[in-house]
């Protein structure tokens, strides 16, 4: 009940931020269509956040491993998918949506996700498995992995830039398939909204539903939930907990890859985003509660609303033309949540 009240009470607060500045920038009442657009932007960004962060939360919840390489996995997946898409379309540097068909978007995804899953599996088996229970050491190991992966990405990606030159880790675009490149009339306040972002929202919801079905309606999911509650007891019951750990790590890494393909199609992929997405995942699970799927969803929505509304509705004009406060608001969000719920909104004590 308390969780519910806090969750509901915090969301209007972010709406309040939007309304509070309305006198300067046109309120939700005066300009409902831009308000609605920002709501939709937040929701669709939350979908991408949820996909990436749910993988992070799955790994953390079961194994207590803070996978500091999650952002690096994200970045690597984005570059792999980009290379595959470039290879399939045979194009040069940047692509128009109309030049990409559905398969040329799905195949990069289907290649990138297993690649990252394999990378995750190798890291888990080679380095993390025999350090079970030493959380800090595992975190340090994944930091080392992230340093190596980030540097190798700069050394090797993107491969086929123009004139055979290699600019390590520069920004490249993944492209949505052509049929998503149009605006849909939502018939609410005359809002025209990008179909690609709605597809992204759909994928996010599908991942959420899929994870819920997997965790709450299958035997593997049951074992994982048992492992989250009590690893030793689960192992003592004769369940092969190591196999479960490996499955969770593989799925968690693949979710980072899926999120990367989805968000890189909307935005772009460039070196340095590994840190950005590690931060995103961390904020989402800190706010939402460690290791809970519902927590990841709630955290993703809150974080997306705070950062989008902060960027859109707080003053950015005047002498300090480019000042943005969204990162400070992110800190305020963390501080507020942790002040009342030290383990996050949906967190339970370990």
């Amino acid at each position: 009940m308390f969780v519910y009240v806090l969750f509901v009470a915090t969301v209007p607060k972010t709406f309040g931020v939007g309304n509070w500045r309305t006198t300067n920038f046109g309120s939700a009442v005066q300009d409902p269509s831009s308000f609605l657009k920002i709501v939709l932007d937040s929701l669709t960004f939350a979908a991408a956040l949820f996909i990436v962060a749910s993988g992070f939360a799955l790994i953390f919840g079961l194994m207590r491993i803070v996978n500091m390489a999650h952002g690096s996995f994200y970045l690597l997946a984005g570059y792999i998918a980009y290379e595959v898409q470039q290879g399939m379309t045979g194009q040069g540097f940047s692509l128009q949506s109309s030049e990409v068909n559905t398969w040329e978007w799905i195949v990069p995804l289907v290649v990138a996700a297993p690649c990252i899953a394999v990378v995750g599996f190798v890291v888990q088996q080679a380095f993390l498995r025999w350090n079970q229970g030493q959380e800090l050491r595992q975190a340090l190991i994944t930091i080392a992995v992230s340093v190596i992966v980030a540097d190798q990405i700069i050394a090797h990606f993107p491969r086929n830039t123009s004139e055979g030159q290699r600019f390590g880790g520069n920004a490249v675009d993944l492209t949505w398939p052509g049929w998503t490149d149009r605006f849909v009339d939502l018939h609410i306040g005359g809002v025209q909204y990008s179909l690609a972002r709605l597809v992204m929202l759909g994928i996010g919801v599908a991942v959420g539903v899929g994870l819920w079905l997997w965790l709450y309606r299958t035997k593997t999911g049951m074992v994982i939930r048992a492992g989250v509650d009590d690893r030793q007891m689960t192992a003592a019951l004769g369940i092969n907990i190591q196999r479960t750990f490996a499955i969770a790590f593989v799925v968690g890494s693949a979710l980072a890859a899926l999120g990367a393909v989805v968000w890189a199609s909307q935005s772009n992929i460039s070196s340095g985003q590994d840190g950005q997405w590690l931060l995103n995942s961390l904020v989402v699970v800190i706010v939402g509660g460690m290791g809970s799927i519902f927590g990841a969803a709630a955290g993703a929505i809150l974080f997306a609303f705070v950062s989008n509304f902060g960027a859109s509705y707080l003053p950015t004009t005047g002498t300090d033309c480019c000042t943005q406060y969204s990162s400070i608001l992110t800190f305020v969000l963390i501080a507020l949540v942790l002040a009342f719920r030290p383990r996050g909104l949906f967190g339970r004590s370990a």
């Binding site: 229970g133 340090l140 931060l279 800190i286 000042t323």
Partner: protein, 367 residues
């Protein structure tokens, strides 16, 4: 000659420390290598101070903080905003208030410590791995805040701060030896101060909080308050490093506090070992040596380097070294030293590792 019944290990360690101290004291006077004095050793002193604040929290508070780089940068930014002057020949970014540098210096330390207490209070109810995650977000948020709030810094940062040093220090651009000795003095002062603080009632209670927060809480100690104060003290230490850094390099920018820098500081602390304060300067020294000599001269063909941005080869090498150290000796170089010097140290280390593996979640320091 064996005064006061020192063990053989103490003899060796104190002998080596004394020799190293004498060496760094006379180094600039020998005129052997000013590059070593003004680039490598001065940098070692100041990053060692920052790493010492991290090791203090980890070894005595059980909190591995990745927020020290943020505090380090906050101190530098405050100093840069208060002390520099605008106008022709001045700095282009920041508020350039042009206050007296001594006032700016004191304010930078006080404000950073206050911010540290605030950040510590937010994170204080968690420990171990949660603390690591929360402080990591501090660091990344500090980077983006500095980058986005153009009034105080912006992405290009503030430059030319080393021209505004207090009068009693004088011009450190013309007299880099002064900065060298200030760095050495502050480093020694920080070392002695930390050794003192861990022996005070507060320090002892903090170690109790590290070992068993529940028991300390039921004994009537305020666990969150102890953690908050420890974080504030570490912020004070980190602010000293931040000020020395802006005097040394002259500039502070979001790039000085971003995720790679945060990880670099952690790598220094881990190389030295997260268990003893001395490790901070040893780790910083080893790291800066590698940074200076690997980047410029090493080419690693079989990893596919050459012609890449951001000094490509160095980070992979440092990542691999970091990985090996964490896998082989979680207590860093000093941990290795302990193991090979102490009789039975190997066995004790292994036992400790097993004990660590069975302890409850979230309370175990590295290893």
């Amino acid at each position: 000659m064996n005064p006061a019944g020192w063990t053989r290990r103490q003899q060796i360690e104190r002998g080596v420390s004394a020799a190293a101290l004498v060496l760094v004291l006379v180094w600039p006077a020998t005129g052997f290598s000013t590059y070593w004095a003004h680039a490598i050793l001065t940098e070692t002193f100041l990053f060692g101070i920052a790493a010492a604040s991290l090791i203090f929290l980890s070894a005595y508070g059980g909190m591995v903080s990745l927020g020290q780089t943020a505090l380090f940068g906050i101190a530098g930014v405050i100093l840069g905003n208060l002390a520099t002057k605008g106008g022709p020949g001045g700095t282009s970014k920041g508020l350039h208030l042009g206050w007296d540098p001594t006032v700016a210096l004191v304010l930078a330390i006080v404000l950073t410590t206050a911010i540290g207490v605030l950040l510590g209070a937010v994170a204080a109810r968690s420990a171990g791995i949660y603390f690591l995650m929360i402080t990591l977000t501090y660091s990344v948020i500090a980077t983006y805040t500095l980058g986005q709030v153009t009034k105080i810094s912006g992405f290009s940062g503030i430059g030319g701060i080393n021209r505004y040093t207090p009068g009693w220090i004088g011009n450190i651009l013309d007299h880099p030896n002064r900065l060298y000795y200030i760095g050495l003095g502050v480093a020694l002062g920080v070392y002695v101060l930390i050794r003192y603080v861990i022996r005070t009632p507060f320090g002892l209670a903090l170690q109790g909080v590290r070992d068993d927060p529940v028991r300390m809480s039921s004994l009537g100690y305020n666990v969150a308050l102890h953690r908050t104060l420890a974080f504030g003290f570490a912020a004070f230490v980190a602010s000293l490093a931040g000020i020395l850094y802006v005097w040394w390099s002259g500039q502070i920018a979001p790039g000085n506090v971003d995720l790679p820098q945060t990880i670099d500081l952690l790598v220094m602390a881990v190389i030295g070992g997260l268990v003893r304060i001395e490790g901070a300067w040893i780790g910083a020294f080893v790291f800066i040596l590698m940074q200076n000599y690997i980047t410029s001269s090493t080419h690693v063909p079989w990893l596919g380097f050459g012609g890449t941005l951001f000094g490509g080869s160095f980070n992979t090498i440092i990542g691999i070294i970091f990985l090996v150290i964490v896998l082989v000796s979680p207590d860093g170089l000093l941990g290795l030293w302990d193991r090979f010097l102490t009789p039975g140290g190997r066995i004790r280390w292994r036992r400790r590792r097993q004990a660590a593996a069975t302890e409850p979640a979230g309370l175990t320091p590295a290893g």
